[in-house]
């Protein structure tokens, strides 16, 4: 046994001990990876430069200042075909944000209702909600987008046979046209009042919470808040002398003039994304609520809380902790899926960027802009939701 101790390590032994030394091996493999990545990266870079030079494409982001020369059907900021490529991409970005925000709000709302419905004791409601989830979860979202676009919105009437809805709203195969509000002098009072209302509500909520902790008396924060947030801007509206007129859409023979129009592409994309994501959100909500132990609601009933208070004060706050992380990824999925608008010609970020790419041939630059923006949206959303999650997370002793 002692023989091993006295034998001096031979040269081969030293080498072998290096091979089996985890530290040495770790460094070796990392170096190997690094070298491989650098070599492959250099090879790709070299090829790209050569290919670009061969096709005579100038590199750099200067093309963003060039004239775009294509029209965009729906722009939130002034845009014409004389605007720059940079502005075209920005218009696309704003449209992505628009459809994502509306989609997220609707999907959350529908998802909550369907998710709670699946847990309902009412057999019919639970079954209907299950059918909804199982249908929408198992069909590609692109197909749902086409379904709305081709199947439903295509069957809307021509402009001259527009369906006239109340308040001068018209529905036809060119989209939904509704009166555009024109704000007159003194309209700035209204957003100001809105901000004051929101701040005042926050102050009231804080005071009400402190009073409840101190004295146990409750205060109708929600009612007061609604009063402040809705009432103050309304008073400001009256005080400024109702500075609001409408630009009504007028049905012509071939087109509607005036008013604001929502493209059918937007409606199709918005409906498809909302309904598709809602089926996933419903499952997230259901899992979250089922994740709260039954003892919690039993204890709450034992304390004499009403069912509605049990749900609002005991179940939902605990379920939210389970719900928030997967809900975040659903929101991100919806935002990323909005890029499918390109398939039906809705001018969102992906669509305007790829049009730019096709016109200028600046593949590397255009794709890098697009990837950066999507990554930035993803990272910003994750950071916000992580902060929110940390705020909601269980504070343990």
């Amino acid at each position: 046994m002692t023989d091993h101790a006295v034998i001096a390590p031979s040269e081969a032994g030293i080498l072998r001990s290096y091979i089996y030394d985890p530290k040495f091996r770790g460094i070796f493999f990392q170096l190997l990876t690094l070298i491989t990545v650098v070599v492959v990266g250099w090879w790709i870079f070299d090829n790209t430069v050569e290919n670009l030079a061969r096709s005579g494409t100038a590199s750099g982001y200067g093309f963003l200042r060039g004239r775009a020369g294509f029209d965009i059907g729906q722009a939130l900021i002034p845009y014409t075909s004389d605007s720059t490529y940079g502005r075209a991409i920005f218009v696309g970005f704003l449209n992505t944000v628009l459809v994502a925000v509306f989609g997220i709000i609707t999907a959350t709302f529908v998802g909550f209702i369907i998710g709670l419905g699946r847990l309902s004791k009412n057999w019919l409601i639970a079954r209907l909600c299950t059918v909804y989830v199982e249908i929408f979860r198992n069909i590609p979202v692109l197909l749902i987008i086409f379904f709305w676009y081709k199947g439903v919105l295509d069957s809307l009437p021509q402009v001259r046979d527009s369906i006239a809805l109340p308040f001068n709203i018209f529905l036809n195969n060119r989209g939904l046209a509704f009166p555009r509000p024109i704000w007159g002098d003194g309209a700035w009072l209204i957003p100001l009042a809105l901000v004051i209302g929101i701040v005042a509500t926050m102050v009231v909520a804080r005071w009400a919470k402190q009073r409840q902790i101190a004295t146990g008396k409750q205060f109708h924060t929600v009612r007061a808040g609604i009063g402040l947030i809705v009432g103050l801007p309304f008073l400001a509206f009256l005080a400024a002398g109702a500075p609001l007129t409408f630009d009504y859409p007028i049905a012509g023979r071939f087109n509607l003039t005036g008013g604001t129009r929502i493209l059918p592409e937007f409606v199709a994309l918005y409906l498809a994304l909302s309904l598709y994501t809602a089926s996933f959100i419903a499952e997230v909500i259901r899992a979250g609520i089922r994740g709260v132990p039954k003892g919690q609601s039993e204890a709450s009933f034992a304390l004499g809380l009403q069912p509605s208070h049990t749900t609002r004060l005991v179940i939902v706050p605990q379920a939210m902790r389970i719900i928030i992380p997967p809900l975040t990824s659903q929101y991100l999925n919806l935002t990323k899926n909005s890029s499918l608008g390109v398939a039906i010609g809705f001018p969102e970020l992906f669509s305007t960027t790829s049009t730019t790419l096709n016109q200028t041939g600046q593949a590397v630059e255009a794709i890098s802009i697009m990837l950066t923006v999507y990554l930035a949206i993803s990272i910003a959303t994750s950071l916000f939701m992580n902060w929110f999650n940390a705020k909601m997370a269980l504070v343990e002793r």
Partner: protein, 385 residues
């Protein structure tokens, strides 16, 4: 303190309550599940009204008023539109689906060569079914045949240009065949690559960890369509001049990269759930890193996340439909291609075709999710309370 003076203490006995209503009978079941409270009753009435309002119309459109046979657009159009149906007719045009069924399955694959994809499909089913049934023995051999031998055989059978088979270029491939090939390759590549990426992300070598985290987060942060687009536009730029990559292969690369990143995160969830003692136990037995992972950690981790893995497969299967945007004709792409075909251009063709494609996608995805639920129960060795 005389308890008799306290107002809240009952002094007389309560009368007997009537027996509770039975919930075993049909009327009892209805009372308990549909009409329990006034709110429930109202909801039931609203839901029933909604069903009565939509379902009969839907059934009429889908089945009773639908056209089941015919060879061109005239059977699915009204007289005004140049067809044979009475004015105001509306219904599904299944004749269109029947006429184009072969195309929806195989795309533009040459007619007299279609026995080849059929043979591949039969091989696929013959290898898949024993793979899915837990009782069938020799899973290792089966997996080897399915994931290694079958793809090679299938490639040569489909592509040809060998053993006297005629060459069929990939642009001619299409329909459900392409959807299935893309998903199969995506699944077969993403599982091993995803496992490697997940291990890399949890490695204690910083360089490898950084590369894995970067790859996973970047791919997961951008939409699939941009990854496909990148594979389509950038891949030719990355390669030396003169090298060309088949369009189909580009889409495969894009799908595989995307699926791997998502799979890596699912596997990581499983790895994180394995207690540290397992890893320490393996170390103390003197197992090497790969032995430890292969024999101790991964079998437990993968079993834990089977639902997540199947969900990724389902997502991948649905996402293959995006290749139709970059100009390939998968099931959705080929259905859309037919919207502009003058033989079948009618107001009801697009929606009929989409419903058909949706049903096929639904069938596969729903099947996968049911199988995953079955597997979860089958593999559940935990001591249930």
């Amino acid at each position: 303190m005389n308890p008799k003076n306290l107002a809240y203490i009952r002094t007389e006995m309560l009368g007997p309550e009537p027996a509770p209503l039975s919930t075993k009978t049909i009327s009892g079941w209805i009372r308990a599940n549909l009409l329990a409270t006034p709110k429930d009753t109202a909801l039931t009435v609203i839901a029933a009204a909604l069903l009565l309002w939509t379902v009969p119309g839907m059934l009429e459109w889908l089945f009773f008023d639908a056209v089941w046979s015919g060879s061109d657009r005239s059977v699915c159009t009204t007289i005004v539109q140049g067809g044979i149906q009475p004015d105001g007719w509306k219904g599904a045009c299944w004749a269109f689906v029947g006429d184009r069924f072969q195309q929806f399955m195989f795309g533009r694959y040459p007619l007299d060569e279609r026995w080849r994809p059929m043979l591949v499909a039969i091989l696929f089913v013959a290898l898949l079914v024993p793979m899915l049934i837990p009782k069938v023995p020799r899973k290792g051999l089966n997996a080897l045949l399915f994931f290694v031998v079958f793809p090679i055989v299938a490639f040569f059978l489909l592509h040809g240009n060998i053993f006297g088979l005629r060459e069929v270029e990939t642009p001619l491939w299409g329909g459900l065949m392409v959807t299935l090939i893309l998903s199969f390759v995506g699944i077969a590549v993403s599982l091993p690559v995803g496992i490697l990426l997940a291990l890399g992300r949890r490695s204690n070598m910083p360089v490898i960890r950084i590369f894995c985290v970067g790859f996973i987060e970047i791919i997961r942060g951008v939409p699939l369509i941009s990854v496909l687009f990148m594979a389509n536009v950038m891949l030719p730029l990355f390669l030396p001049t003169g090298w060309t990559i088949d369009n189909f292969l580009r889409a495969l690369v894009g799908v595989a990269i995307f699926a791997s990143a998502y799979m890596a995160e699912v596997i990581r969830g499983g790895l994180q759930a394995i207690p540290k003692g397992q890893s320490e136990g393996a170390d103390s037995l003197g197992l090497s890193y790969w032995q430890k992972m292969r024999l101790i950690i991964l079998p437990q981790a993968v079993k834990l996340v089977i639902p997540g893995i199947v969900n990724t497969f389902i997502g991948l299967f649905k996402d293959t439909s995006l290749v139709s945007i970059i100009g390939m004709f998968d099931l959705l792409g080929i259905v859309r291609l037919n919207f502009t075909d003058t033989t079948w251009i009618t107001p009801v063709t697009p929606i009929t075709g989409l419903i058909f494609a949706g049903f096929i996608f639904w069938l596969f995805c729903f099947g996968m999710s049911r199988y995953s639920a079955f597997m979860e129960r089958h593999l559940d060795t935990s001591h249930t309370r």
